[in-house]
Subunit: 198 residues, 4 copies
DNA sequence: TATGAATGAGTTTTCATTCAT
DNA sequence: CATGAATGAAAACTCATTCAT
């Protein structure tokens, strides 16, 4: 149910009332029970579909890339897909992403598995880039991945279509990610030896 | 009320029940009404305190830096404060950050103002870095800022203290941010030996 | 809701609990919310209906009188209608009359308007009687009207069907009112040759 | 407690909250328990005092009349006392009178006894007048008494000091009562045989 | 004598859910 | 398939009452 995803992405798990979902679907609340056994089922399904769609979408996009695409370019493609899917297309993705933390574990099983699968795709992309020397050694790949996905996920909270086009956002995000990961430019000599806090 | 922030950061706005808050505070639910006029007042206050504390904390940390700290190092300090405050210290910050999107506007007025003020601090830090040539020209500063804060905010969703220490996370995030922003260290000499806050 | 009027007329505004109303209606309390948005709406409606019905009732009774009915006889008819409606027929009227003073202004707007309209009918009856010389000059018509309505309204507090029939009460009240208003039947000839109602 | 009477006369029995009473008394609610064992005790006492004061007051006023005062004049004096006491002087009287019907029987015992005693005074006044031929034969003395007291009691609901002075009201009420009771003037011939509506 | 703090009982209200139609 | 009507469970909230101070 599209309406579910929409409400879920706006009001959060506990705030998702069947009445609101039904209103969005131009239905009366009891009608939902014709399609779903319970509120929980409905939400569980929407959460699952969110990640599931996103994963399919990403997988297809990656499969469509020329085989000689560099690992970094694959990552940037993934970033674009993730962003566009979450912002343009899909209440489901937003619902799924935003509510991850608020949902009782019981309802998360399927979504969690799907999410792990989605993360695994990213892990492979990053591992490939690392193997190719396209990722700086001072970064833990898992942490870097989480930071990237965080940066992308959060865009749903602040992005305002009246200020920036998605294209602009995508371009910026890609530049941001590329440099955050990449080692110093090619003829590299030395690199900064920063120090960070302790 | 600390308990409110805790529940709020776990269950979300609509999922925050007075009974749970009260249980955390080792009280009966009606006792809350001795201190707050309504559930909404309570939540509003917690959300406000979240950003308010965070801003104070950041401001103090920045004020404590040596005056010759480079703009980039100031940003990295800010990142550290933001991370540590959200992960280590404060249910308030988490509550405030995670629930921003789910709360009725009516309750957000004060928190919004505070958030804007907080963002302004970051804007100034980034503008200073840009003015100093420490930020690549292909990045829109506002977008970059949002991406950074997204990456940091999201850490509350995935960070697992049993896998990584906060220190590790901070170091990685700082490296991540530094390079995501910094121009290629062309014929680089040396770069700052930053120090970030403690 | 008849049940509301009944409880309201017995327990007063603040004492009217939804549970009691529901019990009277052989329902569960939440079912009330299917028909009314809130307790206040429910009460507001019952109070309004009280006066509204009474006014309709009175208006119809007056319209049904022969056109040559004397002004005084019209007044006595109105008294009878008022009494019978409040005692025999209507929890609504009792609810409306008894609780006038206890209800927050916010809920009284509509009822007040209706009440004013009801009073206006009486005013006209009395003015007509006065114009016809059937009311003593030492009485302020407004005050007299209020005293009459008071005498009638209050009967709900003390009238006990096991002691007096409504008919007896009506006859007594009419005699009471007639003489309270009428000028001394100076060189009296004949007056109306009435009959008390059945 | 004066405050109790005041609140009680405004909000009714169920609407009388200890907090409101306390606020009126410029106290905190728990302080009431220093003087009264419970809310019910407090209310019971206020209701009792209402009628008790009124009765004392009336008794003293009657005792002060010259012994040759006519029965009718005694009644009119009683009416004045009743009115003035309820309007000018006493929240207690108003509380007692207005809430008679809403209070659980358990709390009414004492007030009821007192009320009966008060009514007995009136009964005697009216009986005396009747014995003296000053009351028309077509009136049931008990009903007439109730109608009179109703007219007087109700004045608390509508009397507006900005429209009429108490003096005016008293004068009107006395005229109203006198004629409602009195037989047609001396050289009376025939009297009305009223007619009322059907 | 009085109050700040808290609570238990009970009330209004919300909402998922059921069910006859 | 869908809805109007209703309900049980649970939530927010109110308020008399207690108690330590």
């Amino acid at each position: 149910m599209d309406a579910t995803a929409h409400v879920l992405s706006t009001k959060g798990f506990a705030g998702t009332r069947l009445t609101d979902v039904a209103k969005h679907a131009e239905l009366q609340a009891p009608a939902i029970y014709y399609y779903f056994a319970s509120r929980e089922d409905l939400i569980e399904e929407a959460m699952f579909r969110g990640i599931n769609d996103l994963r399919d979408h990403l997988q297809r996009a990656l499969d469509a890339l020329p085989t000689d695409t560099t690992p970094m370019d694959r990552i940037l493609t993934a970033a674009e897909v993730h962003l566009r899917h979450g912002l343009d297309l899909s209440d489901y993705a937003r619902a799924s992403i935003r509510n991850s933390g608020q949902i009782p574990d019981r309802l998360r099983a399927r979504q969690k598995k799907e999410l792990t699968a989605y993360h695994r795709i990213w892990q492979r992309l990053i591992a490939a880039a690392a193997a190719d020397g396209q990722i700086r050694g001072d970064l833990d790949p898992k942490i870097a991945q989480s930071l990237i996905l965080g940066a992308l996920n959060w865009s749903a909270e602040w992005w305002d279509p009246r200020r920036n086009s998605v294209d602009t956002l995508v371009t910026n995000a890609q530049a941001f990610i590329r440099h955050s990961l990449a080692p110093a430019a090619k003829p590299a000599r030395r690199r900064a030896k920063g120090r960070a806090a302790g």
